[in-house]
Amino acid sequence: MTKHRLFWPAAILAALLLANVAFTPDFFAVRIKDGHLYGSLIDILHFGAPLILVALGMTLVIATGGIDLSVGSTVAIAGALACLYISRSAEPGSTGTVLTAVGLALLVALVLGGVNGFLVSKVGVQPIIATLILMVAGRGVAQLVTDGQIITVTSDPFQLIGGGYWLTVPFAVVLAAVMVLLTALLTRSTALGMLLESVGGNPVASRLVGIRAQRLIALVYVFSAVCAAVAGLMISSNVSAADGNNAGLWIELDAILAVVIGGTSLVGGRFSLGGTVLGALVIQTLATTIYTIGVPPETTLVFKAVVVIVVCLVQSPKFRAKLANRRRSGAGRGSRSESAAPANLEVGR
């Protein structure tokens, strides 16, 4: 059973959840109050929804061997634009206004994702660097949109997106679930997922067999930006305000972490949406746990760092080989197989 690729993320999540029961005995209790579901588990899903979305987009980007550092800025820009539009309009409470604001945010996300996609696929810039540009400039743009202020909005339809409930369930959770399911259907019931993995595995070979690699690569960056924009809408809706400086800060790192915990290799060529969702929930649960046991929330970063290092070491073929070697040749005597090193080197740089 440990061979199943979702085993480890699921085991970590289960362990974390169980650890919480030690501190808060009624951790698993879910009650219905005012027709809404209440409880720690619901909270984890609710507050984790934006991260799940951002990580969803990140998964497909990483599947093609790329990375998108600009999602945090996209979150901030989308939230800022929507809040600005709603606060300026004559009827901030009307559904039409909110739909226009949402449309506006998604449209801008299409453009931002398009720029990333263009730089990576057409110009051929390394993904870290191409998306770094928007990461740097994006916060400035978000600040420019909000004029450096925190824009607060009072609009019931807008509040629904991140803070509202639908059939007793937080609407954000429904939205995230729908997007995950749609993506899963699109990538696993059609050839799209396989094509993405093929491009991530070997872009040149994929092009030679007739896959439009460039177009696919551009597409995943656009998708990632749209996911980030929806997450941005959720975050700003949940607090009914847009903060250009702090909205979505460091979410790109959390998203990458979620993807990695979920078992998707950073090298590309393989991905697991289920793993990503589990990974995002692990991170959200970790944050909740740290809150409940009373450790200063700022130290979450140390825990995350340890998780990143452990997960990456476990994923590293070199590390596994060394462990296996050590076990075989008896403890202590590390007979390194240096001869294998050149074969493992990255070829297409």
Binding site: L132, A137, G138, L144, P342
Partner: protein, 324 residues
Amino acid sequence: MNATLTRRLREHIPLLVTALLLVTMFSVGSVSYEGFFSGQVLLNLLIDNAFLLVVAVGMTFVILAGGIDLSVGAVVALSTMVSASLVEHHHWPILAVVPLVLAIGAGAGWVMGWVIHTFEIQPFIVTLAGMFLARGLCYTISVESISITDSSYTTMAQARIPLPGGVFLSPSAVIAVLVVAVAFVLLHHTRWGRNVHALGGSEQSALLMGLPVARTKIGVYAVSGFCSALGGVLLTFYMLSGYGLHAVGLELDAIAAVVIGGTLLTGGTGYVLGTVLGVLVLGLIQTVISFQGTLSSWWTRIVIGALLFVFIVLQRLTALRRRS
């Protein structure tokens, strides 16, 4: 013009563009704003950006070797935090604090380099973890900002070194210039520097040629860690405080300075003096924005982003043309 001359000229296009940009920005600033055209404004660029210059020089080594170091900003913050806490809460003398901080920085870089090399994990993910760790450690020391009142630190902060012509430099700026000089010699006039270039050009070739790949690769991260810690020390002199949120986003500024300075992001080609130009361009953007007054500070980020975009596309275009 003969072929080699045009080829060499083309290799230097990004650097020439940066120099031209610097001159243009300074001239436009001088024409537009009163008091802009002075030696002191130029030297202030160096004084205000001494820490960024030192960090960016360290980043130049890493990028030249084909890697990336995202932990620099966090290591800077950790250095300010460790310094402030030791000086203020434990009353350590400055002469004990600074070497310790530098050792921590170099050690952290060494460990990250070792992990990157030994387990073949991508540099950006390892240094990302380093970034988390360093920022998290800042908060375990203190969540609040610690201000420094120690006399040796305030002396360093206020000291002015007069130069001919009625202008002055700060000790930090002098240290930064010294770091640039040492880095220049190391990278362009030693065997180790050549190994760094070779490693960035092609790791596989470097390995096949028998160059000490492991030592070189781990070394550049140690250098970057050392430079970040030194940058942190200089920032402590500048800010007179330690804070976990100091230098947020500094890694991006450093990468931007290196790229604008003409160093290829893929590694193998680059110039320490280009990085100096890059830092000066970034500093000048900030100066222009502060002289303008009405332009808000977030324009700095937008302009830096736009510049990065232009220079990266420029790099790709020149690289593509060279290949064909």
